[in-house]
């Protein structure tokens, strides 16, 4: 597992049924592109988050394929519809096989 990987997600705590909310996600990750060289001229191997998904109660919101051209600490912002109370599940897939998860609950009033 890459070091110091910490997901951060911003989701409102409450919403009204059917409301559109903005979700902002950021995960601290160096996103080594595989293009850079170290001091001795050796290529530093690629190590990135290659996929991100967001689901709400098992239904998909977005599924993003990330490439090395995504900046360090990948930031994604998108909009979701909230039909009922439940939880958002955010998943990041690392090149090294690690999976990072974050869950945010939202209540519909």
């Amino acid at each position: 597992m890459a070091e110091g990987v910490k997901p951060r997600v911003k989701v409102p705590k409450t919403a009204s049924a059917g409301e559109v909310i903005v979700i902002k996600t950021l995960i601290s990750h160096k996103m080594e592109s595989g293009q850079r060289k170290d001091g001795d001229g050796n290529v530093i191997p690629r190590s990135i988050i290659n996929r991100f998904t967001c689901d709400f109660n098992g239904e998909n919101v977005v599924d993003v394929t990330l490439e090395p051209a995504i900046s360090t600490n990948p930031y994604l912002e998108f909009e979701a519809t909230v039909p009922e109370s439940g939880e958002f599940k955010f998943t990041w897939y690392d090149d090294d096989g690690s999976v990072y998860e974050e869950i945010k609950k939202i209540a519909v009033e």
């Binding site: 592109s33 998909n60 919101v61 993003v64 394929t65 490439e67 995504i70 900046s71 909009e79």
Partner: protein
């Protein structure tokens, strides 16, 4: 070569030309587009790509894509060593077919967004971003 005044001026002009030219699109970019569209024709229309005109730092360039009827949007930076940037697939709960993120650009170049619409057709939008400092670590 002796460094005369004339040579110095020529070299200066050459250097300006070199840095002023945007990075050329590579064949890899064309391949990536073909793989996404399956060779279908790409038209113009319902897609918007927002990127800054000038990015001081190529390491983090904020971009936003949106398209009202897209199921998938692919973003490419044609002048990068690896042109694909990201592919967004929108699920049933996506409220809008839009997303924003931050990308790396190796230099001044065209950024292209291609959307696959619900009717199966493809549309694209592109914009040129001038990059002051490239974002690929030299």
């Amino acid at each position: 070569m002796q460094l005369t005044r004339r040579n110095a001026i020529l070299m200066g002009a050459g250097a300006i030309l070199m840095t002023g030219l945007p990075l050329r699109a590579s064949a890899a970019g064309e391949d990536a587009i073909a793989a996404f569209t399956g060779g279908a024709e790409v038209g113009e229309g319902d897609i918007k790509l927002t990127a800054p005109e000038i990015a001081e730092n190529g390491n983090t360039v904020p971009i936003e894509v949106s398209s009202d009827s897209a199921t998938e949007i692919m973003v490419l930076a044609l002048g990068n060593p690896t042109p694909p940037v990201a592919t967004f697939k929108f699920g049933p709960l996506a409220a809008s077919r839009s997303a924003s993120t931050r990308i790396r650009l190796a230099g001044t170049q065209d950024v292209v967004a291609i959307a696959k619409l619900e009717d199966g057709s493809f549309v694209k939008a592109s914009t040129t971003v001038k990059v002051t400092i490239g974002g690929c670590g030299g």
